[in-house]
Symmetry: C2
Subunit: 164 residues, 2 copies
DNA sequence: CGGTACATGTAAAAGGTTACATGATTTC
DNA sequence: GAAATCATGTAACCTTTTACATGTACCG
């Protein structure tokens, strides 16, 4: 479901696009929010067209197919955005590592948290460089807050681990 | 892979347990970190036993099977904890909603953010009640920080939306 | 004319969800 | 003896990843 919503959202926000374009968007602007490769996107667009949520326009230069969101697609997107309950289906590898940290000895634990911190730092750098005009700015703000709180957690945890 | 690690971690942390026990752990202590139902856990334990990572002990009261982590399982767990790179495979419905917020009108957007805020608030309440002795405390601290930063984002975003 | 970026797809496997199915023990 | 909880499983389906496969247009 969420993949459909992401695709409908992109089509609604940036206008008609090809599967290739949409895959690029996932790689760049959407990568801190949702992920999908072209092998997932192409078949999904075909299904969405069959369901009347998008229409496949004419073929361009290299067999390029332009997809446009339909009124039914816009309706589906709007309904989801307004009604979808905030399900907290968390599946977070970093949190799992944090959970299992007490199983490690002091030195291993410190090394593990330092690697987690480096990961957050790298994501912070990416988010800071991201200058999206309007579209996506709220997600960027949320991402920045989450990543910064991750770094704070790492620092707190490192201090805690080094104290003993 | 991560499901295996979570199961090995639980077996390592709390000692021998049945699939049923492990499913309960996922429901309670592990639910803000990783999720899995019994239909995923039971077959995985069988595979892990086949791979020599756990050993299935005798059958108890109601066909209950006790699984114990083996040295090979402990090795696999340790290696993952120490070496697994912090992959940031984000797939976050709330962030997706945040991303697509500019597609909504002012009133719809405000309502959407308020629902997101309520969701974070509910998770905060759950995390605050969680009093885990040692095991899981770092994950709880991380979760608290992430949820609190989510609430801060919601407040900031609501102020921004209401300003216009 | 060779390399890069554009552009699309399929198939197999792995991971995860939902629905169905069964039976034993305990508690009231 | 009825209900709740314990305890395990299978099957169908959906989602996601990885590997394979193909061909076109543009740029130097």
């Amino acid at each position: 479901m969420s993949l459909r919503i992401a695709l409908l959202g992109l089509l609604s926000g940036v206008g008609p696009a090809s599967g290739y374009d949409l895959a690029k968007k996932f790689e760049h602007s959407l990568n801190h929010v949702w992920q999908a490769g072209h092998t997932q996107i192409y078949p999904e667009l075909v299904k969405m067209a069959a369901d009347g949520l998008v229409s496949a326009e004419s073929e361009g230069p290299r067999g390029r197919k332009l997809y446009t969101i339909t009124p039914a697609g816009a309706q589906e997107l709007h309904t989801w955005l307004v009604e979808h309950p905030p399900v907290a289906t968390v599946r977070n590898e970093v949190a799992l590592q944090a959970f299992l940290l007490p199983l490690l000895g002091k030195d291993d634990a410190i090394a593990a948290v330092e690697r987690i911190r480096d990961g957050y730092q790298a994501r912070l750098a990416v988010l800071e460089c991201l200058t999206e005009p309007g579209f996506g700015k709220y997600a960027r703000a949320l991402g920045l807050r989450q990543v910064r709180s991750g770094i704070e957690w790492a620092d707190e945890t490192l201090a805690d681990l080094k104290r003993d």
